[in-house]
């Protein structure tokens, strides 16, 4: 009898995916707790305890009352939204094209992984040399005679945008390519035998099936761009129109030694990110979200 209960208990757990293999999640779980959960909770706690003892919501009040600080939210959105939109709207057609017509994608993938692996700081350094008034780009354009004055592409909005597109596009492309590759090509062939031209096939078949992947790619790109720091600092105008939330938070720490305010800014930043992600997923849930591999046999 006792043996039976023991067995059925084992089955009960096995049925719910609980067994000894579960031990393997301990290292990951510890990392999560130590480096993410605890700091997040501590940050939230800290944000409600201003160093000037201005009360529970004191930091939040002073953030939103300060027009310069309030503008950082706008600045961040002004960079992150267009960058994410540029990246996915460039990545989508390229990925669909590559999947359809390019047989050997490895050279392309390698080419695209390079900017991803370089890191934003190195990209920023490179762009600095390339885009500055006496850099290659401006020199070439002036020598050819297309422009007479060097273009101002640094220390402003454009510098940040360019660098984020360079680092974000490959990421968006590779993600979209894997989503696109998971669509069974016979679905598109079927649509074309039913009379759909390539534009209609894309609109009615490929795009709806890619929408879930598109939403995820957009969100990941948005989050990356939203927390932009190095490119905003190095290529932008960190005290002007690229004074983004990440820089504001860093300034709070490095210039005012106000960890509490820095936490507040981070929490505000997280809130807006989550807001955008939630909106995207809400929009997505209205579209198809199942398998793209075609029907089973």
């Amino acid at each position: 009898m006792a043996l039976e209960t023991k067995h059925s208990l084992k089955h009960y757990f096995a049925d719910r995916g609980v067994d000894r293999v579960l031990v393997l999640i301990i290292p990951a779980l510890t990392m999560m707790l130590v480096f993410f959960v605890y700091p997040s909770i501590y940050g939230i706690f800290l944000s409600f305890h201003p160093i000037n003892h201005s009360g529970f919501l004191g930091n939040y009040k002073s953030f939103f009352h300060d027009t310069y600080m309030r503008r950082t939210i706008f600045n961040t959105f002004r960079i992150a939204l267009p960058v994410s939109i540029i990246n996915i709207s460039a990545a989508l057609p390229v990925a669909v094209y590559v999947r359809k017509y390019v047989k050997r994608t490895r050279p392309i993938n390698t080419l695209l992984v390079i900017p991803m692996s370089l890191g934003t700081v190195l990209i920023a350094e490179g762009l600095y040399a390339y885009l500055n008034p006496s850099g290659w780009l401006n020199q070439t354009l002036m020598d050819v005679g297309i422009i007479s004055q060097p273009l101002r592409l640094l220390q402003n909005f454009w510098g940040v945008i360019i660098s984020l597109v360079i680092s974000g596009f490959p990421f968006a492309f590779l993600l979209m390519l894997s989503y696109a590759s998971s669509i069974n090509p016979s679905l598109e062939l079927a649509a074309s035998t039913l009379g759909a031209n390539s534009r209609q096939v894309f609109r009615f078949i490929t795009f709806p099936l890619l929408a879930p992947g598109l939403a995820i790619t957009f969100c990941l790109n948005f989050v990356l761009a939203f927390s932009v720091f190095p490119s905003a600092e190095l290529l932008g105008n960190p005290s002007g129109d690229s004074h983004v939330l990440a820089i504001a938070a860093a300034d709070a720490v490095t210039q005012k030694f106000d960890y509490s305010m820095a936490s507040t800014i981070s929490i505000i930043s997280a809130f807006f990110e989550l807001f955008v992600i939630a909106s995207v997923f809400l929009l997505r849930s209205k579209l198809y979200s199942g398998s793209t591999a075609g029907t089973k046999g």
């Binding site: 062939l189 079927a190 649509a191 035998t193 009379g195 046999g297």
Partner: protein, 344 residues
């Protein structure tokens, strides 16, 4: 019609004229070029040589969406994000047909494939057979000039396959649609098609009615494919009177009256269907042998009979026979098919 890939020939010189309303099956083992032929017809693969005409119109130069061919794919290729109704109406919507007419025609198609009550479901909620019927409904609702079917039943279980065979045949009769059907299953092809095209490594082996192909295959490859399980390499040993020859392999000697042009050759392939071999002590071509294996197959037994030290014959019989027993077989001379040996 030809199609080559780099250096390999996927399909060479398929010439075929199909009258309106005919059901043609392209038959052959995998890699024989039958799917290539179908995809070329549909316009999914361009031709490397030849042309395709529909009535007097040349169509191999126009894109698939303008060919008005309905195609049923092996994996059904139903759009997973659309309901059954939306799947079936897709082609009509693209053609910008009036909403009311779309509704009517889709309902009729749903009725035809008996899926009316599943109209608002998603493809993944249906069984394989039902999905297959949706795929067929989607292809025929656009009233195509030609319906192309690429092994549509190969993903179904045996029972459903036989059921669907009947349904496809019935649909074909009712709608009179010209149908080109690709399959590797000879039984399927025999039971459904008006005409068979047997392909092997990209080349047409035989074109004919099911009866012609079944009873009189033109070469040993077609014979093998049509279920002539006994395929022996023999030699022509004697020219008998006009119209019959003797072939032999060691002690086994057979008389054939069905040899085509093979009588002047030395090395030949001899094909005999297992069900043409009878357990009998009298009749033409008496063969003595010993049963070395017997397999019960429900309606009948499949026996492996050793007739010579290196030669075994497969025999199908309703008589229960013990392994190890000595038996006597006979086969009519006109059912001993002699072909040139292809490996020359």
């Amino acid at each position: 019609m030809s199609r080559t890939y780099d250096k390999s020939v996927a399909l060479s010189g398929l010439t075929l004229e199909i009258p309106k309303g005919e059901f043609v099956a392209l038959l052959g083992p995998s890699g024989c070029g039958k799917s290539t032929a179908l995809n070329c017809l549909a316009g999914l693969i361009p031709l490397t040589a030849g042309s395709i005409h529909l009535d007097d119109r040349r169509i191999d130069t126009i894109p698939p969406e303008k060919r008005e061919f309905g195609m049923v794919f092996q994996n059904y290729a139903l759009f997973p994000h659309l309901t059954i109704r939306e799947n079936i109406s897709f082609g009509l919507k693209i053609k910008k047909i009036e909403k009311k007419e779309i509704l009517n025609r889709v309902n009729k198609a749903l009725e035809l494939v008996q899926l009316r009550e599943h109209a608002e479901k998603s493809p993944h909620e249906l069984s394989g057979g039902q999905q297959q019927r949706v795929a067929i409904a989607r292809a025929i609702v656009i009233e195509p000039e030609v319906v192309l079917m690429d092994e549509p039943l190969s993903n179904l279980d045996a029972k459903l396959r036989i059921e669907m065979r009947g349904e496809i045949k019935k649909l074909h009769k009712e709608l009179g649609l010209t149908t080109i059907y690709v399959t590797h299953d000879q039984e399927e092809a025999l039971s459904m098609a008006d005409r068979l095209v047997v392909l092997h490594s990209g080349k047409v082996q035989q074109i004919g009615t099911p009866q012609e192909v079944y009873l009189n295959p033109t070469n040993s490859f077609v014979a093998d494919f049509m279920g002539y399980r006994n395929l022996l390499s023999m030699e022509v040993s004697k020219q008998l009177n006009s119209g019959s020859i003797e072939v032999s392999l060691a002690s086994l000697k057979l008389v054939s009256t069905n040899f085509g042009s093979a009588n002047n050759l030395k090395k030949v392939k001899v094909a005999i269907r297992p069900d043409n071999l009878e357990l009998s002590t009298s009749g033409e071509n008496l063969i003595q042998g010993r049963v070395i294996a017997a397999e019960y197959q429900g309606r009948e037994y499949a026996l492996e009979v050793e007739v010579d030290s290196n030669t075994n014959l497969i025999v199908r019989t309703v008589t229960a026979t013990q392994v190890g027993s000595n038996i006597s077989l006979s086969v009519p001379a006109n059912r001993v098919l002699v072909f040139p040996d292809n490996n020359d």
